[in-house]
């Protein structure tokens, strides 16, 4: 079994609040686990280990994405578990939770098992399927949550769709308790959203495009929080985008309710004005919002109201996006750029490096009850190396995802993942490429 | 044309017989107000003499320079014959053969043709004729307005360098020039103080009277703008 010795980096482990400056730490991986973690400056004997020099890099627990769309089964033309898993490790993600809006929908244990089976063979990252909350994502009849959980589903979500019927939502939340799983909601009042494609406000007014008001999200978040309170269920709000929703989530947590939340890299760094050029790679659901919303989201991420950064990686084929703005499917890529884009929050002081990693790794592990997010001795050896100051040009055509829909395409980004280790094996190295499969 | 300024080495290489390089922007007044008005008087006499009756005359000015000249001609013809010929303004820009495919299209000028040109003796009035292309464009434009019986050309100045077989019927003065010279006609246009109320005046006539006129040749080694 392989041994890897990582030295010379700055070691950040949010699970123990450890931040070891460069040169003082060394980490030994053996048999898929962290075998030793020296923080006092004592070197670990090499003894046949492959040396990974982390000079200039942060050494962190492998990142965990709780929200991605990997498109397999059924839409492999735009992404599949192999390409998605590869994009993930190139972005430093060792575990990815994938949403159920595939074809067929992951609402049956057979589909869950198929995904796990395929991922085992094809994906360098570990894939954790999220199963649908209602059959066919139709928002009418709940899924067999117990069976799905047994098959390997780690949470339930109709993401892509919303459960509009409050009675159905209530029952879904209630039932989720015997599966002891969180229910992830794409909170949006569809009628109020209407044909909206950009944030309703100055931008929708100037562009003459139908607007999606913040109220559409706020109303649904309010509803789902009340239902969570009513049912005692565990609610997780996906891709929060509005200040109003943030406010309600904060109040709910203060009141002791189990309400967690995630925010995407794009909602943390882009505002609705980015759509002014009608670039369909900026069309996303929920839409990019105003500066006020972005400021509230950043504060919420910093103070813990929002627990994790999740990419909502949503690949679409070029020909699907090269159409009229209102016809383009919403969504953008995220796995390969999340670190670079979100490092902006470290650079401007919103988050310290260790808090940044906590929200990309440790918290996600806790949220989904997964092993990971830690460098403690005995932890699973999922590790990523990040060069926080390395500049690189992002060209999605040369990236690992099959698709190219990213608003950062062609841009110079700062911060790059240079190596990723999954279960103790080096699966990605930025110079050597993807090494497994 | 190259626009490198004169330098010592250029002077040395020059053949002794060549003329000295002109200093920048040498400007000389070739025709002053008096001479221009005299020339117009003479041209008016020539028009009256050669015309087969003056009732069918129709002056058509090519803007901008032709306009004040045509006004003065109309004044002259009115005093000579008792009746004022109709005065039109015909912008030829849309008929040019050299509209570029880069940069910007030239700004258009006003066109006003108060009456029909059918069966008329149209006299195109231009300030400076050089290559003949503007007159050619003017004739094309005129044909779209109707069928004149005759078309004649008045030019205050013929500076040569014809590129098309265009003849000037009545010329104020022939002035030989270098192709790089610029010939500029200045006409002061003043608001009218009074009008004489003759029949046949067009509305624009009443707004403006023509003041000081001057024709200038500028030699500065830079290429010409526009066709002449």
């Amino acid at each position: 079994m392989s041994k890897i010795l990582i030295r010379n980096g700055r070691f950040l482990d949010p699970s123990t609040d450890t931040d070891i400056p460069s040169g003082a730490g060394e980490l030994l991986i053996e048999d898929g686990r962290v075998a030793a973690f020296e923080t006092g400056g004592n070197p670990i004997p090499e003894e046949g280990a492959e040396i990974l020099d982390a000079e200039g890099a942060w050494v962190v627990p492998g990142l965990i994405d709780v929200h991605a769309h990997l498109r397999e089964p059924g839409q492999e033309y735009k992404e599949d578990l192999a390409s998605g898993g590869t994009a993930a490790v190139a972005g430093g993600f060792t575990q990815v939770a994938c949403m159920a809006n595939t074809a067929p929908v992951n609402d049956d244990p057979s589909v869950t098992k198929y995904i796990l089976d395929r991922a085992e063979k094809e994906s360098p990252a570990k894939i954790r399927p999220i199963a649908a909350a209602t059959q066919g994502l139709l928002g009418e009849v709940m899924t067999e949550m117990v069976a799905l959980k047994e098959a390997g589903a780690i949470a339930f979500s109709d993401d892509g769709a919303t459960i509009s019927d409050a009675a159905v939502m209530r029952r879904v939340l209630e039932y989720s308790r015997i599966a002891d799983a969180i229910v992830i909601v794409h909170a949006e009042d569809c009628a109020l959203r209407g044909a909206g494609v950009v944030n309703e406000g100055a931008v929708s007014t100037k562009l003459g495009l139908p607007g999606n008001p913040a109220a559409a999200e706020e109303i649904m978040v309010a509803r789902d929080i009340r239902l969570a309170a009513l049912t005692g269920a565990k609610l997780h709000v996906a891709h929060v985008s509005t200040a109003g929703a943030v406010h309600m989530i904060r109040k709910a947590r203060e009141a002791g309710l189990f309400v967690t939340a995630e925010v995407t890299p794009h909602h943390l760094t882009l505002i609705d004005e980015a759509t002014m050029g009608f670039d369909t790679s900026t069309r996303v659901a929920p839409p990019l919002r105003s500066q006020t919303d972005v400021d509230a989201l950043r504060r919420a991420l910093a103070d813990g109201t929002i627990d994790v950064i999740a990419t909502d990686h949503a690949p679409h084929a070029c020909y699907e996006k090269e159409v009229e703005f209102t016809e383009a499917p919403p969504g953008m890529l995220g796995l390969e750029t999340a670190v670079a884009v979100c490092l902006e929050l470290v650079r401007d002081g919103t988050l310290t490096p260790i808090e940044f990693i906590r929200r990309l790794s440790t918290n996600a592990a806790g949220l989904l009850s997964l092993e990971g997010g830690s460098l403690k001795v005995g932890s699973v050896a999922d590790v990523a190396l990040i060069q926080p100051n390395q500049e690189w040009n992002y060209d999605p055509a040369r990236g690992f995802s099959k698709s190219r829909n990213s608003p950062w395409a062609g841009q110079s980004l700062t911060g790059r993942v240079t190596a990723t280790i999954v279960d103790g094996r080096l699966v990605y190295h930025h110079e050597r490429g993807v090494l497994i499969r | 044309m190259p626009t490198t300024p004169p330098s010592a080495s250029l002077q040395e290489d020059r053949h002794p017989a060549e003329p000295a390089v002109m200093p920048m922007h040498e400007e000389r007044v070739v025709l002053d107000n008096e001479s221009i008005r005299r020339a117009l008087k003479r041209i008016s006499h020539e028009i009256v003499e050669s015309a087969d009756g003056t009732e069918r005359l129709y002056l058509v000015a090519i803007p901008n320079g032709g306009v004040p000249l045509a006004r003065l001609l109309a004044d002259n013809l009115e005093s000579l014959t008792g009746s004022r010929p109709p005065l039109g303004i015909l912008d030829t820009t849309l008929y040019r053969d050299d509209l570029s495919t880069r940069g910007s299209r030239p700004l258009l000028r006003r066109t006003e043709m108060p009456s029909s040109v059918d069966d008329r003796v149209v006299v195109l009035v231009e300030d400076v004729v050089s290559t003949g292309r503007t007159i050619r464009a003017g004739m094309d434009a005129l044909m779209d307005f109707g069928r004149p019986s005759h078309v004649r050309v008045v030019a205050l100045v013929d500076r040569g360098h014809r590129e098309l077989p265009i003849k000037i019927d009545y010329v104020g003065k022939n002035i030989p020039t270098q192709p790089t010279d610029r010939v500029v006609f200045h006409a002061e246009q003043l608001p009218a103080s009074n009008s004489t109320g003759s029949a046949g005046r067009d509305a624009r006539d009443e707004e403006i009277t023509v003041g000081e006129l001057e024709l200038v040749v500028r030699s500065d080694g830079e290429s010409l703008e526009g066709p002449e």
């Binding site: 309703e200 406000g201 100055a202 929708s204 007014t205 100037k206 562009l207 003459g208 495009l209 607007g211 008001p213 050029g277 009608f278 070029c318 020909y319 090269e322 159409v323 009229e324 703005f325 209102t326 016809e327 | 912008d91 849309l94 008929y95 509209l99 570029s100 495919t101 880069r102 940069g103 910007s104 299209r105 700004l107 258009l108 000028r109 006003r110 066109t111 006003e112 094309d140 434009a141 779209d144 307005f145 109707g146």
Partner: protein, 307 residues
Amino acid sequence: MIGRDILGIADLSREDIETILETAERMQEIGTREVKKVPTLRGRTVINLFFEPSTRTQTSFEIAGKRLAADVVNFSVSGSSVSKRETLLDTAKTLDAMDPDAVVVRHKVAGVPHRLAEVLKAPVINAGDGAHEHPSQALLDMLTVREQKGRIEGLTITIIGDIAHSRVARSNIYGFKKLGAEVRVAGPPTMLPADVEKSLGVKAYTNLAEAIEGADVVMALRIQMERLEGACFPSVREYAATFGLDRAKLRYAKEDAIVMHPGPVNRGVELSHELADDGPSVILDQVRNGVALRMALLYLVAGRGGH
């Protein structure tokens, strides 16, 4: 300006607008001639690419091109790129391969001309994209106002109707403001877009009398019945009563106020029968000016150079 796209009034400077209007004034004269043609764009190809049917605007551009002796080709396309399974990129590349000197585009979704302009070497003229902009309409409206009033600076213009869904409103707001007029908008609250006063820099009214008080120009927009009746306003009857213009309501405006409408008019809804035809209405001048204005645009930008 050769080769420059005309995608919206928002991208035009005041000088650009003045140049276009002055050129259009010269083009007006050609419409009075017997032979309504000049050879200026002879041999040039203008493609009308209309994804949304529009006899008026399409014909106006066609006549404009033909008066300049251009070869005008009309492409009427039905359906979205998704329904036709041809992406906008492919449509643009195909057109570009035909070497046009100008492409006039109308589409019911905002932003389509912009996408096409990225690929096409020829200048793209936006003939209306969704609710976003309709620059040639606004320009001909400005031309008409200048003709009627001698100026635009200092005038008060009130635009009435479904502002939220109107590209004519947006383009006119940008244009008239750039030329120094004060612009007001009026309509039921359901037809005023989000944050309208701050986003577009206008004063918004839900009361017609207040909106047209002292106005020099009153512009009524067409109501799209199919889409809106029942949703944005309860009935045509109520809309006509509250926001429809007739002689009586027009008295709130200045005595010499003019009435405009981009057409076609829903008689009895936006304008009463008499106002649609009578004195203060300059609707037919707008149409006439439309051809001159579109001739000016084609004259100024057509040509594949300078992209």
